[in-house]
């Protein structure tokens, strides 16, 4: 099986969807001639032409609204928001129009928004955010956060098939750093089905996106201390695989939740609340959360390192929970 970077997996998946289904097209800023700010759609314009690879004006509202309108007429648009931070400009289109259309009008809005997210490269407050939690609060949206190249491709195919608005958060810091085996053939990965990144018995660690790798490093470090952590990669937040977390906690009785988004009202709070509601008697320790502090994403590398959860933060929390 060929090895591909996370970015290549997304790019290959996109191309495969466009070859498979002529209803699929991409639009966004600089996606055509330039091939996308991160080169995810490099070469697409030549293969699919200017009406399936649409260089849009700098207009996030028109990009998302245009996607919604074309989806209502039977197409399957995939809109690239150059950085997930910029989806703020199109909040109304996502939350007011697309998310509510099926509930109130009975008309599906099958759009995929590709949202390059996350920090770790001094992108500063406007190119580094992980805004996925905010959108989990909006009924009608599906939220996808792949961590591996294999999942990135399979979840993208599922997103294109899904008749609902799907927000696909692709972590920029994984684009070229992460490489793994990815099948050439098309495959889908169901939404709402978590992946066990690492099996363990002492502590359950729930996370997603780039934090899966931070979690894995911390768990590896704790292994030598005799602490066995089970890492659950949720893969999708809406829907999310509560059953997988409950099953793991039934075994470990301890839960650590890790995310790169800020702490207050981050999706970790929802996971913690539901686990307390449904598994209180199985818990042998308070649920712990590790998340970014409640600040904007800072620019300076030393500040950003203090902002993004680090391996030693996670290792420390795992150790404390194991000893509790």
């Amino acid at each position: 099986m060929p090895e591909k970077t996370y970015l290549q997996a997304i790019s290959d998946g996109l191309r495969q969807e466009m070859r498979r289904d002529e209803r699929v097209f991409v639009l966004g800023e600089d996606v055509g001639v330039y091939g996308g700010a991160f080169k995810v759609t490099a070469g697409f314009l030549d293969e699919f032409g200017p009406w399936r690879v649409i260089d849009a004006p700098l207009s996030e509202i028109a990009i998302v609204g245009g996607a919604t309108g074309s989806a209502l007429m039977g197409l399957r648009p995939i809109a690239e928001l150059q950085f997930s931070d910029f989806v703020a400009c199109a909040w109304d289109q996502v939350v007011t129009v697309a998310a509510k259309q099926h509930f109130r009008a009975g008309t599906p809005v099958p759009i995929v928004l590709r949202l390059p997210s996350g920090g770790g490269f001094s992108g500063g407050p406007f190119h580094s955010q992980s805004p996925e939690s905010a959108f989990t609060h909006v009924p009608g949206l599906k939220i996808v956060c792949p961590a591996t190249p294999h999942d990135a491709k399979g979840l993208l195919a599922t997103a294109v098939e899904d008749p609902n608005p799907v927000l696909y958060f692709e972590h920029k810091h994984l684009y070229r750093r992460i490489k793994a085996e990815v099948p050439d053939e098309r495959y889908t990965i169901p939404f709402g089905k978590a992946r066990i990144e690492r099996a363990g018995d002492d502590v359950t660690l729930v996370t997603w996106g780039a934090m899966v790798y931070t979690a894995a490093e911390a768990a590896e470090a704790l292994q030598s201390e005799g602490v066995s952590a089970e890492i659950i990669d949720l893969r999708t937040l809406q829907p999310w695989d509560k059953r997988a977390v409950l099953e793991s906690v039934a075994k470990t009785s301890k839960l650590l939740i890790l995310h790169e988004d800020t702490r207050t009202s981050g999706f970790g709070a929802e996971i913690a609340a539901q686990l307390v509601e449904e598994a209180f008697e199985q818990l042998d320790a308070p649920i712990r959360r590790i998340a970014a502090p409640d600040t904007p994403v800072p620019f300076s590398p030393v500040l950003e390192k203090a902002y993004i959860p680090q391996v030693e933060d996670v290792a420390g929390a795992l150790r404390e929970l194991a000893e509790y």
């Binding site: 399936r52 509202i61 028109a62 109130r104």
Partner: protein, 348 residues
């Protein structure tokens, strides 16, 4: 404003035959205008009787603009009508009883009680249900046109907005994108001179909103929104131009909002003399006169039509009042659409 308007019959010297409208078409347009106003008059009463929850908006004074544009569309064309555009739904064939059921939050309203007033549309009529954030529908309307262009279909999207919506950034992004890509979309600005209480001089600084079209590289036309044939003629040309690949047009239909923003609003901020002046240009009265003068429609025929519409709406109201209330047990259904099987070839 570059619109001449007569108080009597329609000022347009348009020949109905030249417009491609036969007598039956003309009477059908008149009927749709009557139904539009009739539904809203009944709705107003139902609201005061407490039978319509929430708020209630009318498009009084906008009947010619809405019905005129909708009559110029083909069934395969699509659009995003707003809350003064009841006439669009009526013209495209939404049954009046379902509209009244919608207002009364019943199961048979197109939104099945999940959304109110004119927040409704039947997608099988190629209409998209509006949201309250009115200009947010503009990029969606452009998206409809984008789909037509991508598939190379001879279909046109109609994008409705108002003088208030024109002030929002969505309007700019929608028109700019449509202009850049020469998409088959017609922007119809219902300029009824008031955005809630805000008059034109506080909403925009250009002479006409249609002037803005030049900035996006297409034509803008101001039309008397109380003259249904002038609206029809202008809209028809714009729609057919778009269909032929000529790109967008902005059609500004100038009217006056003859009632409050919604029925709770007495519109005391609108000068009485302005309302009195515009009451002389009632679009239905004007078209009725024209039909008598130019379509040999006699008093008996027109009265008969008016009685027929009254009966239709009385029956519609009864049927709507008998529509069941939505079932609270189904509230959580339909937030998400169900997965459909994938299309296309399985191997890439």
């Amino acid at each position: 404003m570059a619109v001449t308007r007569d108080t009597g019959s329609l000022s347009s010297s348009l020949d109905a035959e030249q417009l491609g409208l036969d007598r039956a078409d003309l009477l059908s347009i008149y009927r749709d205008m009557l139904i539009t106003r009739g539904i809203e008059e009944r709705g107003h009463i139902l609201y005061k009787q407490g039978k319509i929850p929430g708020s209630f908006y009318t498009g009084r004074g906008n009947e010619a603009a809405a019905v005129g544009v909708a009559s110029a569309m083909r069934p395969e064309d699509a659009g995003t009508p707003l809350h003064r555009d009841m006439g669009v739904h009526v013209t495209r064939g939404v049954e009046p009883w379902r509209i009244l059921a919608q207002y009364m939050a019943r199961e048979d309203g197109p939104a099945r009680g999940r959304d109110g007033n004119v927040h409704m549309a039947l997608i099988e009529q190629n209409l998209v249900a509006m949201v309250s954030h009115l200009p947010a529908m503009m990029p969606v309307a452009v998206g409809l046109a984008l789909a037509f262009r991508i598939r190379d279909e001879r279909r046109v999207s109609v994008c409705w907005y108002g003088d208030g919506a024109a002030a929002r950034g969505d309007a700019h992004e929608a028109m700019n994108f449509a202009g850049v890509r020469r998409l088959p979309v017609v922007f119809v600005c219902d300029n009824n001179q008031y955005a809630y209480s805000t008059p034109p001089q506080l909403e925009y600084a250009c002479a006409n909103l249609a002037d803005r079209a030049a900035a996006y590289g297409f034509e803008g036309i101001v039309v008397d929104g109380t003259d249904v044939l002038a609206v029809y003629s202008t809209a028809k040309q714009a729609i057919e131009k778009a269909r032929a690949g000529g790109g967008p047009t902005l059609v500004e239909c100038v009217t006056l909002r003859m009632e409050g923003h919604a029925v709770h609003d007495d519109a005391s901020y609108v000068p009485r003399e302005l309302l009195e002046e515009w009451s002389k240009y009632d679009p239905i009265v004007r078209f009725r006169l024209w039909l008598g003068e130019h379509a040999q429609a006699g008093e008996a025929e027109l009265s008969g039509l008016e009685e027929e519409v009254k009966t239709l709406l009385a029956e519609a109201q009864e049927r709507a009042e008998n529509s069941p209330l939505p079932d609270p047990n189904e509230l959580e259904q339909g937030v998400y659409a169900e997965i459909e099987p994938p299309q296309g070839s399985p191997d890439a």
